[in-house]
Symmetry: C2
């Protein structure tokens, strides 16, 4: 089981946003929808072993939306229907524990620190590894540590100093994806492909196949 | 300059489709919009050296929509606004030559055979190379021929026998992307990443870096 965490800085936490203006009025909700799709969808199927978290900080209390591949039902990959699930989740009164709002979708209040605390700490979680993207990090094709449990990505804005400080407490692996800076959803596609290759082809074979 | 050609089998050629039902009523127009986005968009920018063609065969006369990175203006990456540009193009009476319908977007009638004839034939085009995706093809990371001029991908349906026959006349390179079958937009992300690495890092260095 792996997780993708998307740090959203601008998407509204108000469920009144219009599904007709995801890119503008909803604060780049289109990008968040695509990150869910990239995390969970393959051709004619869902990655059952993936959970995607949206950490939405455009509200003092914050919201975390959880999308669990194993539990999603009748999920379409288009932006509008995905955004409709987010809208439905945001309309539910949220507390400090996750509450399911549709099959596979749940919401709670909170931010990155609370989420990482839940996911990374505790006796059985001591060996969990976390990765962040960094243009100066190790190339994913070469890194010996790219198979992590959590991958943290930012939306169209840079990750903040405060978020970096929170993440640094967990000694994240720093990964780079190639020479071009990409949208977060496209970055997830590249992470998945490298993981798929290492897991399915066997790590050593893949890394040295080109010799 | 490179081109992506997306073979669309189900998307409507009727401009009356609803922007609120891209995935259903419009015949997976959401996927076409995302293939344009994956072909042309990088973080905070457009790939100026890319042209994306949608070959829409869900109509006896067929339509080809051309999106030219170099000429696009005020382009947002979300599905709805991209689909709105497609809708606008489909509403224009189309002939056998491309006609611009908005900056960087043009439409003509025709199908794959006509498009390939225009792009691949003629005195100055003799050396153009074309690639198609094939699960049994050469791995893009290993192929010595992956840097092609045209890449042809299919929508959510398999490429047809007739399309394969048309493509075979141009002796396409057959490329595979990894162990998981992906959506067309995600396939484009992987093709771009491999191209970016070879062009920017230098092909030989990239291919053998892991030794």
């Amino acid at each position: 089981m792996i997780s993708f965490i998307i740090l959203s800085h601008t998407a509204t936490c108000d469920p009144g946003f219009s599904l007709n203006d995801l890119c503008g009025g909803a604060g780049r909700m289109d990008l968040l929808a695509r990150t869910i799709q990239a995390s969970l969808c393959i051709s004619h199927g869902i990655r059952k072993d993936v959970t995607c978290y949206l950490v939405m900080s455009n509200d003092p209390r914050g919201r975390i939306i959880r999308c669990t591949g194993q539990e999603l039902r009748r999920f379409n990959p288009d932006e509008r229907s995905t955004a409709a699930l987010i809208k439905k989740a945001l309309a539910v009164p949220a507390g400090s524990l996750f509450r399911e709002t549709s099959p596979g979708i749940a919401i709670r209040v909170g931010g990155l620190a609370e989420l990482l605390h839940d996911l990374m700490e505790g006796k059985d979680k001591e060996k969990r590894k976390i990765a962040i993207l960094d243009e100066n990090g190790d190339d994913i094709r070469e890194s010996e540590d790219m198979l992590c449990d959590l991958y943290v990505l930012s939306d169209h804005q840079n990750i903040t100093e405060k978020e970096i400080a929170t993440l640094n407490a967990y000694q994240p692996v720093r990964l780079s994806l190639g020479p071009t800076v990409l949208h977060a959803d496209h970055a997830i596609v590249l992470l998945h492909n490298e993981r798929d290759r290492r897991i399915r082809y066997n790590s050593q074979v893949t890394m040295h196949k080109a010799q």
